[in-house]
């Protein structure tokens, strides 16, 4: 009789982490957009703070997801029928992480040096740059998610196939 595989397989660490940065980084970008478009002028400050609270852990979790994804890659690349999708998934995941990391570094610099004279001169330009980085990151995070879904739902990446008679569940 077959036995059910463990839920603590190396390749399953990736789905454990990956959904956090997807949500955090998308909502961090939406918060930034709300602030820049001045949609709720009375709540601008608190929305910006909320956006930053989502951005920083989102970036850390994005890199953890890249790392766990690399671990999963070594397992599933030998099993799936089209590893080129996996490669694109990995490439766009790196790009997403770099875009949001750059945005986070600029935001952190802004928090630390916003009162310095030299920084105020470039601040307006950086504000636009951060928005572009995060909007770009939001696009790529969507595409990375789409490729991840293709790997799971079209190629069963890391998915256990139960036996025909389901005996392992008895």
């Amino acid at each position: 009789m077959e036995t059910l595989p463990s839920m603590w397989r190396t390749e399953l660490l990736h789905p454990l982490f990956v959904h956090f940065p997807i949500v955090l980084l998308i909502f961090a970008t939406l918060a930034l957009l709300v602030v820049r478009l001045n949609i709720f002028p009375n709540h601008k400050r608190s929305i910006r703070t909320a956006g930053l609270i989502m951005l920083f852990p989102g970036v850390i979790l994005a890199w953890i997801s890249v790392y766990t994804g690399t671990l999963a890659d070594g397992v599933v690349a030998r099993e799936i029928c089209d590893p080129t999708v996996l490669e694109d998934h990995e490439r766009f995941a790196f790009l997403t992480s770099y875009l949001f990391s750059a945005a986070a570094v600029i935001e952190l610099t802004d928090l630390l040096f916003k009162r310095k004279m030299w920084f105020t001169r470039i601040r307006k330009m950086l504000v636009v740059f951060v928005l572009i980085l995060q909007l770009g990151g939001m696009a790529t995070v969507g595409y990375v998610g789409h490729l991840g879904a293709k790997l799971v739902y079209q190629q069963s990446a890391a998915v256990y196939q139960p036996s025909e008679d389901c005996s392992e569940f008895e």
């Binding site: 890659d73 070594g74 690349a77 030998r78 799936i80 029928c81 089209d82 590893p83 080129t84 490669e87 694109d88 490439r91 766009f92 790009l95 875009l99 572009i132 909007l135 770009g136 696009a139 790529t140 595409y143």
Partner: protein
Amino acid sequence: MIFAAILLGASSCGGGTDVVESGSYEGTISEVNADEQEIYVGTADDKTLELYFTDSTKLVRGGSPVDFSVLEKNQKVEVTVEKVGKRLNPLKVEIK
């Protein structure tokens, strides 16, 4: 426009690999990933093959089997691959 530019830029960046028909190919190892037992081989016609070793992959030098750890960048190899879907299974890797 931002989205399109970023997606286009990323997709046109290097690092892509190629899928070839089953057969033997001569080339040079461009990268060795020992953790994942994986190598990248650049062929003479400018294609990059990403090969994940399996239990059935034979690795030989001078007709004798050798360990994965002997593989290194810039080594000349002849690889025999089997195309399954778009996956390349390395059946044999011979170090030249």
